[in-house]
């Protein structure tokens, strides 16, 4: 009995620390995000500031207020950064894994080379690539070494945007995207013969589409059109991020490829399967769970990306802005703590949307075992 009490008291300090520093602080942050802290400069830096409850005003301002246009661009940047960073790291990682897996000579060397950026800080990576991507240097003059004309893309310095859309249409596009995902869920459920899930997914998708094309079109977040798009300055940041992280996905895929039993592949070959059929029917399906975990990890990294952007472009450069940067700028440069806290809560929600279903499914799997 004495030992049991001892055991609990050994764990207790950690429980208290996590309780306060994780749960307590999230609660406090949520409260701060519902106040006007930072609106009045005199109160902003007071040791015991007088806070007034303003409800969801900070959130409303971020999404529809006139001054926070930078926040909205940062959200759009984050969406594009996350998509291209995930696609790039997964694709390159898979290619590298397939190549390394087939290379009998120098396998260890190539693996070490592809994985080493993982050990670096995003700040180091950012500093290096900032220099690589100078408009008149680095990558752009590389072709001249082979007698080719230099590239002229200004990388981080460009202010160009593509895929431009009006912020007012965001609810419409979001509804479309979610609807498409639901349709896919319905399709998968149909194939697995789960009638209930199929009907529910189909019904929700239908309701969403109906809403999008009737009310969703007319919804106005702002009284005026405000355009945002994929800022091309992000291409350089994505390149650097893929350089750093694709070795990690390679390591994951490599472990997965090694886990495929040789007999299965041999049997398929004996049955006359072509290389492509091997990939399509055996290798890719067996790598699917790895792809899912890698997507969770990469998505998690992408959503809170901060140090890489800080090192490559600094805090004050709107074309590469992401919410974590804007949050830091608001809270620790502008003393707008309430609004910064609101962005913190939004990031937490975003990450939760990605991570919680994954954890829940992992947990269910473990229970089933």
């Amino acid at each position: 009995m004495r030992d049991r009490i001892l055991a609990f008291s050994v764990l207790l300090p950690s429980l208290l620390a996590v309780g306060v520093f994780v749960y307590g602080f999230i609660g406090q942050n949520l409260w701060v995000s519902l106040t006007d802290w930072g609106k009045d400069p005199a109160q902003a830096l007071a040791l015991r500031p007088e806070l007034r409850f303003v409800g969801l005003e900070n959130y409303r301002e971020l999404f529809t207020g006139f001054v926070d246009v930078r926040f909205r661009q940062s959200v759009v940047n984050l969406i594009f950064f996350t998509l291209f960073f995930m696609a790039g790291s997964l694709g390159l990682g898979l290619l590298l894994a397939l190549a390394v897996d087939r290379a009998p000579k120098g396998e260890g060397f190539f693996r070490t080379v592809f994985l080493f950026p993982m050990s670096l800080s995003f700040v180091v990576t950012g500093t290096i690539w900032r220099w690589m991507l100078q408009p008149q240097g680095g990558v752009n003059v590389l072709p001249t070494l082979f007698g080719l004309p230099p590239l002229s893309f200004p990388w981080l310095a460009t202010r160009e945007q593509v895929l431009v859309f009006d912020w007012n249409h965001l609810p419409f596009y979001t509804a479309l995207a979610v609807g498409l995902v639901l349709l896919y869920v319905a399709y998968a459920a149909h194939r697995e013969g789960e009638r209930r899930r199929f009907l529910w997914a189909l019904l929700s998708a239908g309701v969403l589409f109906l809403w999008a094309f009737t009310l969703g079109r007319g919804l106005k977040l702002l009284p005026y059109p405000e355009t945002h798009g994929f800022s091309l300055a992000l291409v350089g940041v994505i390149l650097a991020a893929v350089w750093q992280m694709s070795g990690y996905t390679m390591a994951l895929y490599l472990a997965g490829l090694r886990g495929i039993p040789v007999e299965v592949l041999e049997a398929a070959r004996v049955d006359g399967a072509s290389e492509w059929q091997l990939f399509r029917r055996i290798i890719f399906p067996m790598l699917a769970p790895i792809t899912l975990s890698a997507m969770i990890v990469l998505g998690h990294i992408a959503l809170k990306i901060f140090d890489l952007v800080f090192a490559m472009a600094g805090l004050d450069y709107a074309p590469t802005d992401v919410p974590a940067i804007y949050m830091y700028l608001l809270a620790f440069r502008g003393n707008q703590f309430a609004k910064g806290a609101a962005i913190g809560i939004l990031l937490l929600l975003l990450v939760a949307v990605v991570v919680v279903p994954y954890l829940a499914s992992q947990l269910r799997k473990e229970v089933r075992r």
Partner: protein, 268 residues
Amino acid sequence: MGRVLLYAFLLLMAGFFLLPVYLVVLTALKEPAKITLETVWQWPHPPYWESFRTAWEAFRPKFQNSVVLAVSATLLSALVGSLNGYVLAKWPFRGSGLLFALILFGMFIPYQSILIPLFQFMKSIGLYGNLFGLVLVHVIYGIPIVTLIFRNYYSEIPDELVEAARIDGAGFFGIFRHVILPLSVPAFVVVAIWQFTQIWNEFLFAVTLTRPESQPITVALAQLAGGEAVKWNLPMAGAILAALPTLLVYILLGRYFLRGLLAGSVKG
């Protein structure tokens, strides 16, 4: 034919991964006046070692901060993690599974969501701008991942060993000291490598919670490279200094590095 294409692809990719390193080293070895954009890829003759001396002098206090920070936080958090893992794996009590899950949740949160209360808290207890405040922060937010690694590792140790020691009259700490600890070396290595690299490379807490005199090297490097007028040989030499410790860990202990990577891949 396939072989040739395969190796051509691998070499091309090795170029993509190594060219930045080559550029960093040769830029760091150039005289500031000779860094021009047209000759950016030319190897300097003769190499100019002076920038390393200048960079080392500029970065030495920050480098020392990083060493003190990473080493002390890593040791403390390994100790905490091994005790927590021991309790959760070998002394479970009612609700300990739930508590473990609640601890793990701390691994997934984006730290932006606690940054403002943390900043206020550190200021109010007088640890803002203090290196040991930053150590404390890293130890606390490291609890989830180190607890996870040690708990999973200790779950593999057969309960019979613990039971036998208990029959022999060993208590809670006796079992830890004589049965668990001697078996823990691999777990300690994995946790130490993981935490050391994480803390050395960390930036968000460091830039928010330190003053210039307590800055780790990542913050100093980001600020130096962010300045417009600076010549590029210094940030590049600084980048090499900032990268060297974790790079050495990776090259010398790559196997364990990978294991930590796969165990803690969703950490915040």
